[in-house]
């Protein structure tokens, strides 16, 4: 992992205390990160899921997206998942739903992987 990716992983760890983190370095210096047992709010079943993402080797200049959640996620009201969700697809050795939330104003040195995860989580809870 590059020093910047390593620092990003540490920040995710500190920003989501109490949640298990799986970190798998990828060959170019980035890392696949999975944060477990995140509360998705009251609109989904199951109510919690892991969320995974790839921090690429050119982080912090590169955006962190898309994010992935477990493939069996559903709305409890029976409605379709909102646009922004797609899949399921194979991601990092598992089936997952893809959440594409690209940052149009990503600012290197200001935006971080932890902040992006918090924003994505907030979007999931409120969409």
């Amino acid at each position: 992992m590059t020093p910047a990716v390593q620092a990003a992983v540490t920040e995710v760890e500190q920003s989501f205390p109490g949640h298990r983190l799986d970190v798998t370095p990828e060959s170019q210096g980035g890392a696949y990160v999975i944060v477990h047992d995140l509360n998705l709010g009251g609109r989904y079943a199951p109510a919690t899921s892991w969320i995974g993402f790839l921090i690429t080797f050119q982080y912090p200049y590169a955006d962190v997206y898309p994010h992935f959640v477990q493939a069996d996620l559903k709305r409890i009201d029976g409605a379709n998942l909102p646009s922004g969700f797609s899949g399921p697809i194979a991601w990092n050795g598992r089936q997952a739903l893809q959440i594409s939330r690209r940052s149009n104003r990503w600012t290197a040195g200001v935006d971080t992987a932890a902040m992006k995860l918090a924003k994505v989580l907030n979007w999931i809870r409120n969409v």
Partner: protein, 482 residues
């Protein structure tokens, strides 16, 4: 530091802004001495050791720059400790500066040299091995005494001032007498023997040896640039043939790569020449004396990028965002002026109808507003380019076959020509007073648009914000693949 460093040439590089601040502080027309510190990064290669000025910290007269116990004036102990501490924390180089009278030559006084002997061993310890040193400026001259952690002392050969009107300062005027090849006689009439000699001394890097890069490399060789470094990870294919200057049928393996026979197709791909090898042949035909480093690899890889850190000028002629980010980092981390060129044909994905056709030339000087600040680097595309092809397909960033964008030699030539003239007139000192701008050319409308540049105060590459890469050289981290 190892003993081999003793023989290397030491130089200082600083941008026009920093030099302006330094001159305004050292030479306020009061005839007195003034002082301060330059905080610098460092780049060490076989070509020499370049001190990369990041920041000038002026010493306030009577407070930070005070009457000395032995010499006329000295930096106050508290000021030295504070700035040296910052250098130690950031892994940067401490360079004390002051001025003497005179114009075109300058040297340290005996008192100066004695003070270095007394103080610099301790400063080396404080800064965890430095280097540390001193510079003394006259109006058009500079001398330096640099100390390394092996207690060796090194004289500064010259200082390079970067900008639209670059120039060098030496301890004393240089006697220059160079042989100029008669074939450059018509060029010498434009920029003189000194200008031609200067081009011959330059090391210029070109990232990308495809349609745009091949034009740049040929022109650089024909101008008489002495040392070229070309970087490209691709081999030739038949679709490159209409755009790459000097390409021969042999270079594309006589079109075997398009055969329907799988074996012949594979053979064709293997027999096709790397683009940098074609560029080398073309450059040597243009100038048999040129030194040409053909790097068949990707600039995103650290081992390849290292070959570019001591270039005097850098061109970018690729279409990947990853290499654009690397170029931007090299320009600002190693203080190398550069120009990015590109051409784009925007077509309707459904009908194929052409929407827009343009070529762009982006002059990127250290401290002029970088590609990140000016929206020329897409964080989303950086992320996508780091994915494997399989990941891109699964995540639907590639729909169907990967379709190449339109590309035409005349559009490449438009950007390359503007870029080469910018390079030539900047390097030879002939550029008129102008603004640093990006130039957008629309040949269908026969128009040219100038784009004023922005500079974000917190930019991690071109600002002086804490942790930024600006001027850090080897003490910073390039955004390379590991």
């Amino acid at each position: 530091m190892d003993q081999k460093r003793v023989k290397k040439e030491w130089s200082l590089v600083m941008d026009e802004r920093l030099y302006g601040e330094l001159r305004a502080h050292l030479f306020p027309d009061d005839g007195d001495e003034h002082g301060g510190v330059i905080i610098a990064g460092l780049a060490e290669t076989e070509r020499g050791i370049r001190l990369l000025a990041r920041q000038f910290v002026p010493a306030r007269g009577g407070v930070d720059f005070v009457p000395g116990k032995r010499g006329y004036r000295a930096l106050a102990g508290r000021f030295v400790a504070e700035v040296a501490g910052r250098c130690a924390d950031d892994g940067l180089v401490y360079l004390a500066v002051h001025n003497h009278g005179g114009t075109d030559s300058v040297q340290f006084s005996h008192d100066d040299m004695a003070s270095h002997l007394r103080g610099y061993p301790a400063l080396l310890d404080i800064t965890h091995g430095g280097p540390v040193g001193a510079l003394v400026f006259a109006h058009n001259a500079v001398a330096g005494d640099i100390w390394t952690d092996d207690r060796q002392r090194h004289a500064l050969h010259h200082a390079q001032i970067l900008g639209l009107h670059p120039h060098r300062l030496y301890p004393e005027p240089l006697a220059v007498a160079k042989f100029i090849d008669p074939m450059y006689e018509r060029q010498v009439r434009l920029f003189g023997e000194a200008g031609q000699g200067l081009l011959g001394d330059l090391k210029v890097g070109v990232i990308g040896a495809g349609g745009g890069g091949s034009l740049l490399l040929q022109m650089l060789a024909r101008l008489g640039v002495g040392h070229l470094v070309a970087v490209d990870p691709d081999r030739m294919d038949i679709t490159n043939y209409p755009r790459i200057v000097g390409a021969r049928r042999r270079d594309i393996a006589w079109g075997m790569g398009t055969s329907k026979n799988r074996i012949i197709k594979l053979l064709g791909a293997r027999l096709a020449r790397p683009k940098v090898h074609v560029a080398r042949r073309v450059a040597r035909e243009a100038n048999p004396r040129v030194r040409f480093d053909a790097l068949y690899g990707n600039v995103v890889d650290a081992a390849v990028a290292r070959h570019l850190i001591d270039t005097d000028f850098l061109f970018l002629a690729t279409d990947t965002m990853q290499s654009r980010l690397m170029f931007n980092a090299l320009v600002h981390q190693y203080l190398i002026p550069g120009i990015q060129i590109g051409a784009k044909v925007q077509a309707d994905p459904g009908t194929g109808a052409v929407d827009d056709v343009f070529a762009v030339t982006r002059l990127v000087l250290p401290n002029s507003g970088c590609l990140l600040c000016n929206g020329a680097i897409s964080s989303a595309q950086l992320q996508r380019e780091a994915l494997s092809e399989g990941e891109r397909r699964r995540q639907r960033y590639i729909e169907g076959e990967d379709i190449s964008e339109p590309s035409v030699i005349t559009l490449n030539a438009l950007g390359a020509s503007q870029a080469m003239n910018d390079f030539l007139f900047i390097s030879t000192g002939l550029l008129k007073p102008v603004q640093v701008e990006h130039i957008l050319m629309s040949p269908r409308e026969r128009t040219m648009e100038r784009v004023r540049l922005q500079q974000e105060p917190g930019c991690p590459m071109c600002s002086l914000s804490p942790g930024s890469l600006y001027g850090c050289g080897d003490r910073g981290q390039l955004p390379c693949r590991q």
